[in-house]
Structure formats: structure tokens, C-alpha cells
């Protein structure tokens, strides 16, 4: 059987060019975010409002927090702060909406330290739990559970 000559046809060149263009477009529109992820440690604060007085005693520095919906780890508690519980109330005499202290209730601010991955848009714990100020979190620790907004996320160096 005669050996076939090795020849590059016009079609072969077109195929190679198309593959190169597809690769470039793929990188431009899909892959550019990949590989830009960094890892770091952030501190973030969750606010649990309108808790019964003494609730904060259940929360210990050093405990691990978990997401109470999908069981994602949320990090380690590094600080617990208690503040008065406030409720918005209309004060029609002065024509404004005030924040009034609610007796017998407390607001708990839990500061959590977590290892995160981040890109230019998001900060994630374990690549699956998004943290931003303003996001609602249902959480549980050792012997307690609650839910509240993330109040603050520490800025990463360079941001």
C-alpha cells in the first residue's frame, strides 16, 4: 500500500485558524476571570437584631460558625459585641422616624474571621458562600442559631 503524501490543505489552515480564534474568544469572554482569584483572610460582622437579653452569652469567641441552610462553614468567631436593640418608630410630634430602644432585647454583633477566595467582583468562603455587606445569613454555632445581615466586610489589601 502506497504511503500517502503529507500535505496541508487550505481547509487544514482554516481549521487551525478557527481553533485559535475560538481559543482566544473563549479566554476573552469566559476564561479571563479564572486564575485571577486570590486567597486571603477577612473579618466580617453579622448583626443579629432583636434577640432576647442574655442571648449573647451563648456565643463564644473561638467557636466555629456554620451556615444554617446548606451547612457551609462560615469561619471562626473572633469578637462578640452587645448593643441595645433598636426599633424604628414614628414620632409624629417631631415628624420623624426614630430608632427607639426596645427593653429586654439586645442586638449582637458577631465578628468572624474566615479564609476566602476573591476576584474583582466577589468574596467567597470555600468558593461557595458569598459574603458582602447587606446579605442575609442564617447561621448556627454551638448551642445557638440566628439570622441577620452582614454588616461589614473588611477590605482586602489593594482594594
Amino acid at each position: 500500500m502506497a504511503k500517502k503524501d503529507f500535505k496541508i490543505s487550505t481547509f487544514d489552515i482554516v481549521v487551525v485558524v478557527v481553533v485559535l480564534i475560538a481559543g482566544f474568544l473563549g479566554y476573552r469572554f469566559i476564561g479571563q476571570d479564572i486564575g485571577k482569584k486570590g486567597t486571603d483572610t477577612v473579618l466580617y460582622t453579622i448583626e443579629l437584631t432583636d434577640q432576647q437579653e442574655g442571648f449573647s452569652n451563648m456565643i463564644q469567641v473561638g467557636d466555629n460558625l456554620m451556615d444554617n441552610v446548606k451547612n457551609f462553614p462560615l469561619g471562626t468567631i473572633v469578637n462578640v459585641e452587645v448593643q441595645p436593640s433598636l426599633a424604628s418608630a414614628v414620632d409624629i410630634n417631631v415628624g420623624m422616624i426614630r430608632e427607639a430602644v426596645v427593653e429586654g432585647r439586645e442586638t449582637v454583633l458577631i465578628t468572624v474571621e474566615a479564609s476566602v477566595t476573591h476576584d474583582e467582583k466577589d468574596i467567597m468562603i470555600n468558593d461557595n458562600f458569598l459574603i458582602k455587606s447587606g446579605i442575609w445569613v442564617a447561621l448556627r454555632g454551638t448551642g445557638f442559631a440566628g439570622s441577620g445581615y452582614i454588616l461589614d466586610v473588611s477590605r482586602l489589601e489593594g482594594d
Binding site: 490543505s9 481547509f11 482554516v14 481549521v15 478557527v18 475560538a22 474568544l25 433598636l86 424604628s88 414614628v90 409624629i92 415628624g95 420623624m96 422616624i97 426614630r98 430608632e99 476573591h118 474583582e120 467582583k121 466577589d122 468574596i123 458582602k132 455587606s133 447587606g134 446579605i135 454588616l151 461589614d152 466586610v153 477590605r155 482594594d159
Partner: protein, 162 residues
């Protein structure tokens, strides 16, 4: 004449494999045209790219320290940034209150601010409107779910400055 001859050529001219590769290439080109070219026809976003400045209003926000000048702004559902925050102005927050007489007055809201973010974005402006990245039309009055790397918040497009 056979459709495919003994050498695997269609009508004795084009190799079957080459034919299929050609079909795939045509499909890719067609897909690229639909994805990247017809967008302009859909939105009317034709013209030269320029810097567009617009403002976003955020009402009665409590903690805004994590929204900073220089932050990239994103809209939920959009993969790209819809601009960069270049200025932040805050005012005492207000809301409507009903008095005991049934009169509606505007009152201050304690511990909240109304915020105007000024955003700069690269986009296109023509007689049909203002567009960021060709597909994101800036419609004054439209409510949006915004986020930055550090903060999520709702707001609405307040004005297109330039």
C-alpha cells in the same frame, strides 16, 4: 452519479470530512455573528464608545462605609461592570409620614441616609439612549439590584449627567 463516490468525496469533489468541518465552521461563524453583531440591532447601541456619567440613588441606607469611590459597580444578572463609582453624596434620609390629621408630611429618618452615587462607565450614547457594554441600557427611574465587591444594595438610576 453517486452522492458519495468510492474515495469518500461528495459528487466526486469535496471530501466528506472537509464538508462536515466546513459546516461546523459556518455554524461557528453564524453563532459569532448572532452573538456579537446582532446585539446592536436589538438595542440600537451603535456609535462610538465614550465615557458616560450617570447617577444612582439609594434610599434610606444605614451603613454605607463599604461603598467607596473607585469601587466597580455591578448589576445582578450582568457579567460585566456597569461602571466605577467616582463620587458619593449623602443626605439625611427622608420618608413620608401621616399625621394624626391624615396629612402626609416628609420627615427625617434617624440613622439612615439617602445616597447619590455618581458612576462613570464606558458606553455608547445615541438618539436611542445610553448603553453600557452595548446591552445594558441606562433607563432613568429603573430599579436595580446593585453590588460591589463588598456591598449589596438596591438603587435606581437617578439621572444621566453626560
Amino acid at each position: 452519479m453517486k452522492l458519495i463516490d468510492n474515495n469518500g468525496r461528495i459528487f466526486g469533489k469535496i471530501n466528506v470530512m472537509d464538508f462536515f468541518i466546513g459546516v461546523v465552521i459556518l455554524a461557528l461563524i453564524l453563532g459569532a455573528v448572532v452573538r456579537f453583531a446582532t446585539v446592536d440591532k436589538v438595542t440600537g447601541a451603535n456609535g462610538l464608545e465614550k465615557d458616560i456619567v450617570y447617577t444612582v440613588r439609594v434610599d434610606r441606607i444605614r451603613d454605607f462605609g463599604n461603598i467607596q469611590v473607585g469601587d466597580a459597580l455591578y448589576d445582578r444578572g450582568m457579567e460585566f461592570s456597569v461602571g466605577t463609582i467616582i463620587a458619593i453624596d449623602t443626605f439625611p434620609a427622608e420618608d413620608k409620614l401621616v399625621t394624626n390629621d391624615g396629612e402626609v408630611i416628609t420627615g427625617l429618618v434617624e440613622n439612615r441616609v439617602d445616597m447619590i452615587l455618581t458612576i462613570e462607565a464606558s458606553g455608547i450614547q445615541n438618539e436611542k439612549g445610553s448603553f453600557v457594554e452595548k446591552v445594558y441600557e441606562l433607563l432613568v427611574g429603573s430599579n436595580k439590584s446593585y453590588y460591589t465587591k463588598y456591598r449589596e444594595f438596591g438603587g435606581r438610576i437617578h439621572s444621566i449627567v453626560d
